[in-house]
Symmetry: C2
Subunit: 398 residues, 2 copies
């Protein structure tokens, strides 16, 4: 829209607001709403996996049996039965997670906002993977974090790199050990052990953000770092990828000392997560539904991933490399270094194919020749068509 | 719980987190969950007013007709038909509110958090009423605001007091013109005009927080300041008091320049408000339901208010004064100056009567002999019993 007719408001913004920029991903998503666009950009879970009927029954039951409570203000910590369910789900093989460690959040993004609020001062060093999740960079940047990139390879973050010089003064280390967004990488078992051990004595929390852990195609997940050091790891989980993201329901499991501060911060932020959505989700999950649901999502995404990988194999020219994820929603690709994927995207959008350039996922020293491909929203036939068009554009630039 | 068995985590917290304290109100509310307590403490709307059946039908319709969209990620700005509905509702008598001014928030509390995020730096002056809404103090304190109290009287904030010396460097002025929490006061028409005029040229926004505007007992609401200066006022609204608070659904109407920054901040905060609750509320309100619903709530609260006022009249000793609100949920009372209501509360809780001491509502120079009485949760017979017990305790202290 044209703003020239609006009064110019020269209200002074906060320092952090002046630095805020829109997420490149969200801006691209706006373009990809056009139905003719084959979008590998969004991390949108496939609506085919949403248990709509079960949600509808649950909503009906909640609003019939407990409307007063479902529509009333409720505790900042979250709906107690849901918190108990989460604690119980993480308590197995001798590991004990206490309900008093669990805080329900308005989606995983709020978990990151609250952690930033409670841990980061302007200029505080924050350790992140190379590359890392863009949403975390956005959340922590509001609190004016100063990022320190921790080296990674195909097995994820390299714990040996966490030297005193690198970690000096850090307020937190942020990692996605399972099928990381954007790379799809999984942190190896030995490295989990090393990082959990590091967390036991480190003067700052290790945050294990785990939205994709359940989407392990072989159904043989590696243990969480939380299970290795349950009183030392801050674990973030989400119902977005196993039920539905539009509910905005996530949680933080943290040592009580930090939990209490997070609760205070949440009180000031939105009082509590909607009572209604919490109760609906509890109704849906309480009798073991996720154990039916998760294998179906895994199977669908594994097939989609295989379609993407075989299309890449079929169409991509030499000089393009990518990984073979064992779970999650993303493939990470590298092009020859002279190809800037931000520019490639402009040409690609003209061909009605979208992806996310890799640059914005780096806190520093962006690798501009990388890109993220999501395979969960587009059916296999269109995946092949989209990859073919993208490959043609890359070939033109070789 | 006993924490002595937990590992001591000496993780360094942010400056703001170290200053965070729990809301006195939330701590008191925990005590008042006991059914034997007659609670004038909570600002909990009466569940008798929740349109549970209509919510249930709406949830059913949304999850039957549009499950894919209701359960998927959606735009940060909010559900477009709901934003359009809000803009249309405020567009009357020649005033035009644009949909592009409307941002849906996860409750009104999030509106305050986002405004703080975008406008307040550590130490920034923030103008507030004397006393003011505790939730606003909590939200803005996270951003380390430095409060400046603006004088008020029974007609609300005194615009003449906004001298250059008082407003110097301010980032925002925060006011609740309708049936303010905690005082129940309403800003007079002339003062609304004066403050709207002030907003036209002031170098910082005037925030009109209006959760209680619809709860005007006579059904003759005063015009909002937004309607007087639609491109200069930041208006916060909520569905909590007219539908149900457990949905956590509010909105900010702001000039586009500020709106865009608020959207960016919200993206980093929780991506978007739950798609499901937004669509349910739109289904409930789109055909004019609030025009049936609001008069019923007004009537109920007016009766409750009258019950409270006549009980106060009947039982309170001389030296106790209170106002006669024309709407909303609260009566504000003053005791003789030597009575500290925080101490009175301790005795009162032993008698199973709860209220909120006035002190925490002052940004500065608290008037410790004041208290807030909510009359919306307790039925008239119990109101009388509770007021009688409270009056007896006050009489003992005279």
């Amino acid at each position: 829209m044209d703003h020239s007719d609006l009064p110019h408001k020269d209200w002074q913004l906060s320092e952090r607001a002046r630095k805020l920029t829109s997420s490149a991903i969200r801006e691209i998503l706006k373009v990809t709403e056009r139905p003719e666009v084959i979008s590998f950009a969004g991390g949108l879970p496939s609506p085919a996996t949403f248990p709509a009927e079960r949600m509808r029954e649950a909503a009906d039951r909640v609003l019939r049996d407990a409307p007063g409570a479902a529509l009333q203000y409720s505790a900042t910590e979250g709906y107690l039965p849901l918190r108990e369910w989460i604690a119980a789900r993480y308590s197995k093989d001798g590991v004990q997670i206490r309900t008093s460690q669990v805080l329900i959040t308005t989606g995983s993004q709020q978990a990151l906002d609250l952690l930033g609020k409670v841990l980061i001062d302007a200029g505080s060093p924050v350790l992140v993977e190379t590359p890392t999740y863009l949403g975390a960079l956005q959340a922590f940047s509001v609190y004016e974090a100063s990022y320190v990139q921790v080296p990674t390879d195909d097995n994820g973050l390299i714990p040996e790199a966490l030297s005193p010089a690198l970690t000096q003064g850090a307020r937190l280390l942020y990692a996605q050990p399972n099928f990381q967004n954007p790379t799809g990488r999984r942190l190896s078992l030995e490295r989990r052990r090393a990082l959990a051990e590091f967390a036991r004595t480190s003067p700052f929390p290790v945050v294990e953000d785990d939205p994709y852990g359940a989407l392990d195609y072989a159904g043989t997940p590696l243990p969480t770092m939380l299970s290795m050091a349950p009183d030392h790891i801050v674990h973030c989980g989400s119902f977005s990828k196993v039920l539905a993201p539009g509910l905005r329901l996530g949680y933080i499991i943290a040592p009580e000392e930090l939990h209490f501060k997070l609760v205070q911060a949440k009180q000031a932020t939105d009082l509590h997560t909607p009572s209604l959505t919490q109760r609906i989700v509890y109704e849906v999950v309480k009798d073991g539904f996720l154990d039916e649901q998760i294998p179906k999502i895994r199977e669908l995404y594994r097939d989609q991933c295989e379609a993407m990988l075989s299309s890449l194999e079929r169409h991509m020219p030499e000089g393009v490399t990518w990984n073979r994820p064992e779970g999650g929603m993303f493939v990470w690709a590298s092009l020859p270094k002279h190809i800037d994927t931000m520019k490639l995207l402009e040409a690609s959008i003209e061909q009605n194919v979208a992806f996310v350039p890799g640059g914005p996922f780096f806190a520093d020293e962006a690798e501009a020749h990388t890109l993220r491909l999501s395979f969960v929203t587009v059916p296999p036939a269109r995946i092949d068509e989209g990859v073919a068009r993208l490959a043609a554009l890359i070939r033109e630039r070789l």
